[in-house]
């Protein structure tokens, strides 16, 4: 409403401005035409008078009348004064209108400017003065000056009816146009309000406006447009809904596939057709000690320096053709040390076109454990065959000697029989030991537990190991309590475990080293500690030493031989007794292994 009022106000002001402008223009025009009339009249009159002989204008008292006649006889109210002056500029005759004082003459001295006009002022009056020379036979006798009132630009009373006549139609027409305009605007305003409501309601419906003519047509078209937009929006909404659903489905499928790939025990990498990595699971990132993001955002060279991996990926970047093949590579990583990694690549076929591939799947399988176990098994078999061949060698030599001349000697026969019997015993115990180990490993043996004096069992094992190391320059120390409660264990198995630990302590000890065996009866457990002063165990290998067939990479250990079963067997024996075999990590020199045999209360507490 305010807007409509403002329009009305603007129209009124504009109409007033128009009227004022028209009036000003009219007055300006009127004054210009008056000035033009005065000029025409003044110039011609001045010329006419200059043609009259000077004597006729100025002889005696009657000549005064000529000038008066000029002023009043012409009947011209615009003429303010008429003067005749002599050559010196002195006024000879003069006639002025009522209340007018003729100003002094200001005729220029140059003859060329004698005929002309100029503006004069006298008091508050303003005049246009025409002057002309009075000549007698080309001699200057004097001047005639005709002063006209300057036309007045102001409003005079007689002009008011004219102005009123002029303003009336304008004032009449303005409200008419204003109301006409308001009438035309009303449906547009109504439509505007309706559309505003539509915008506020955020809906699509037709705008009900009764309008005719152009506006009616516009409203019809607008409604048609709204209908079209409404149906279009509906279609878009449906599309959006469909897209949202399929996007959710895709996300779910993608997540499912990625979860499967993340759950796989192997490290997995997916390359697209150009050989660019498009997916890598967490295990791959861990294998190369980088983040998944790094793998996806950087070229392979940026996060991997292993030539085998680079050349493998390069194959797909250059050929782009995926094919099945297997490759085994060995490389070191900061996170895991030297690993044996087997890679297998699979082409990824497009779901809708099985003859074309969309990329390659590379599976990195860490076969370090298998490789280690394979090597350890080979070493073990080699070691075992050596162990078996030594007694066989003695048997072979003695049996052969019995057939020769030496065999005829009764003494030799007795010696041979004894040696053969001893070697057969040795073979037998070796085989029994192997069997025991196999059975413990397979879990088919159950310990034959009895209440035994542990200090005796440990002492026996100690003596056995000491005897076996007779050729070594080791010092042996045994510290067992004199009195302690009997312990419920399989004494043969515990003896094997302690012997294994001691034989390691002897084997890996330094020259003139010490092997210390301690038995301690604590509140929670009975502890057997076997310590040496040897080469010790490196931090990296601490976690692996109890693994079956594990052999340290240390050259000093390699030189000493062994089959990597001693500690594994000892741990299995201890665990059969629900105990724990641990490596004491606090030692600075050599190694110390601790067998913890939990007391019953502790064992129950731990089980709970």
């Amino acid at each position: 409403m305010l807007k409509a009022d403002r329009i009305g106000l603007v129209i009124v002001v504009a109409s007033l401005l128009v009227i004022t402008a028209i009036i000003l223009l009219l007055f300006g025009n009127q004054r210009d035409s008056q000035i033009s009339d005065i000029r025409t009249q003044g110039v011609s009159l001045a010329r006419a008078i200059s043609g009259v002989p000077y004597e006729q204008l100025v002889p005696g008292g009657q000549q005064q009348g000529v000038v008066q006649t000029l002023l009043h006889g012409v009947g011209n109210k615009k003429l303010a004064y008429v003067t005749i002056s002599n050559r010196q500029g002195l006024t000879i005759a003069e006639a002025v209108a009522d209340g007018v004082i003729a100003p002094a003459a200001r005729i220029p001295s140059e003859p060329s400017a004698w005929l002309g006009h100029l503006e004069q002022t006298a008091g508050r009056d303003r005049f246009i003065e025409f002057h002309a020379p009075l000549l007698q036979q080309s001699d200057l006798q004097g001047f005639v000056r005709l002063g006209y009132f300057y036309p007045n630009a102001g409003l005079s009373l007689e002009q008011i009816p004219f102005i009123a006549m002029l303003a009336l139609p304008v004032f009449l027409l303005v409200p008419f146009f204003y109301f006409l305009l308001r009438r035309e605007i009303r449906p547009i305003k109504a439509a505007n309000d309706e559309i505003s409501k539509l915008i506020d309601e955020d809906g699509f419906k037709s705008v009900e406006i009764s309008a005719t003519g152009e506006l009616g047509e516009f409203m019809n078209r607008f409604n048609h447009f709204v209908e079209m937009a409404s149906s279009k929006v509906q279609v878009l909404e449906q599309d959006k809904e469909r897209l949202l659903t399929s996007s959710k489905l895709l996300t779910y499928r993608k997540n499912r596939v990625e979860t499967v790939l993340e759950t796989l025990p192997e490290a997995v990498m997916i390359l697209d057709e150009s050989g660019t990595v498009t997916f890598a699971n967490q295990k791959l990132a861990a294998m190369f000690d980088v983040t998944q993001e790094t793998i996806l955002t950087q070229p392979v060279q940026g996060w991997c320096e292993h030539a085998d991996v680079l050349s493998l990926v390069a194959k797909f970047q250059s050929q782009g053709k995926a094919r099945n093949f297997t490759e085994t590579m060995r490389f070191s990583t900061d996170a895991f040390g030297t690993r044996s990694i087997a890679t297998k690549t699979y082409p990824l076929f497009a779901a809708n076109n099985p003859s074309s591939t969309i990329g390659t799947l590379i599976v990195f399988r860490d076969e370090t454990q298998e490789a280690l176990a394979r090597k350890a098994r080979t070493d073990f078999v080699s070691h075992l065959s050596h162990e078996l061949k030594s007694p066989l060698n003695v048997l072979s030599l003695y049996s052969e000697s019995l057939l020769n001349d030496a065999g005829k000697s009764r003494d030799h026969q007795i010696e041979a029989a004894n040696v053969i019997a001893a070697e057969v015993d040795r073979l037998g115990s070796l085989i029994t030991g192997l069997l025991n180990m196999t059975q413990i490993e397979s879990g088919s043996i159950s310990p034959d537990k009895n209440l035994v004096k542990l200090q005796d069992v440990v002492a026996a094992a100690f003596e056995e190991a000491k005897h076996m190391a007779a050729d070594k320059s080791c010092t042996f120390e045994l510290d067992v309590p004199k009195e302690m409660n009997p312990v419920f264990v399989d004494k043969d198995l515990i003896r094997i475990a302690v012997t294994n630990l001691m034989s390691n302590a002897v084997k890996y000890n330094k020259e003139d080293g010490t092997v210390t065996v301690t038995v301690e009866d604590t509140e929670d457990a009975v502890q057997i500690r076997v310590a040496d002063t040897g080469i010790g165990i490196s931090e990296e290998e601490e976690v692996q030493i109890f693994d079956k067939f594990f052999r340290s990479a240390d050259e000093r250990v390699q030189a000493l031989g062994g089959h990597g079963l001693g500690l594994a067997l000892a741990r299995q024996i201890v665990e059969l007794h629900h105990g724990k075999l641990l490596l004491n990590r606090d030692r600075t020199e050599g190694a110390e292994f601790i067998i913890n045999l939990w007391k019953e209360a502790t064992a129950v507490r731990q089980a709970i």
């Binding site: 061949k389 003695v394 072979s396 001349d405």
Partner: protein, 129 residues
């Protein structure tokens, strides 16, 4: 009579080898490990050396390497009795001349014929020179 030095840590093996080789017409001396053998070599060289591998103090490999080091001009051949058949356990022998292997279990008959062949070769070589 040719002299053979036998080195083994197992006393019964030493005894039976000594008996067998003496039966084959050799004069036999024995040592129970590498160190003892080296001591005996300093006193005088045999015509042939038979040694075991797995021995305490100084094993067969260390003994052979010590001989190569201490007696580069030795004239006698060496036979190593071993139960290790893998190549990796024999690589070290490439650097040592006049060294052969005999796999366990050993037969005295085979050992005698091997020693005989080796001595013949050595004699031929000495004759040719």
């Amino acid at each position: 009579m040719k002299k053979v030095l036998v080195v083994d840590d197992q006393a019964p093996v030493l005894r039976v080898l000594k008996l067998g080789l003496e039966g084959g017409g050799y004069e036999v001396d024995t040592a129970s490990n590498g160190s003892e053998c080296l001591v005996k070599l300093c006193a005088g060289h045999p015509d042939f050396l038979v040694t075991d591998i797995d021995m305490p103090r100084m094993n067969g490999r260390e003994l052979c390497e010590a001989i190569e080091d201490q007696f580069p001009d030795r004239a006698f051949s060496i036979v190593v009795l071993t139960s290790r058949t893998e190549m990796e356990h024999r690589d070290w022998t490439r650097a040592i001349d006049n060294l052969s292997f005999m796999e366990k279990p050993v037969s005295v008959r085979r050992l005698l014929s091997h020693i005989g062949r080796c001595l013949e070769d050595t004699d031929k070589l000495a004759g040719a020179m």
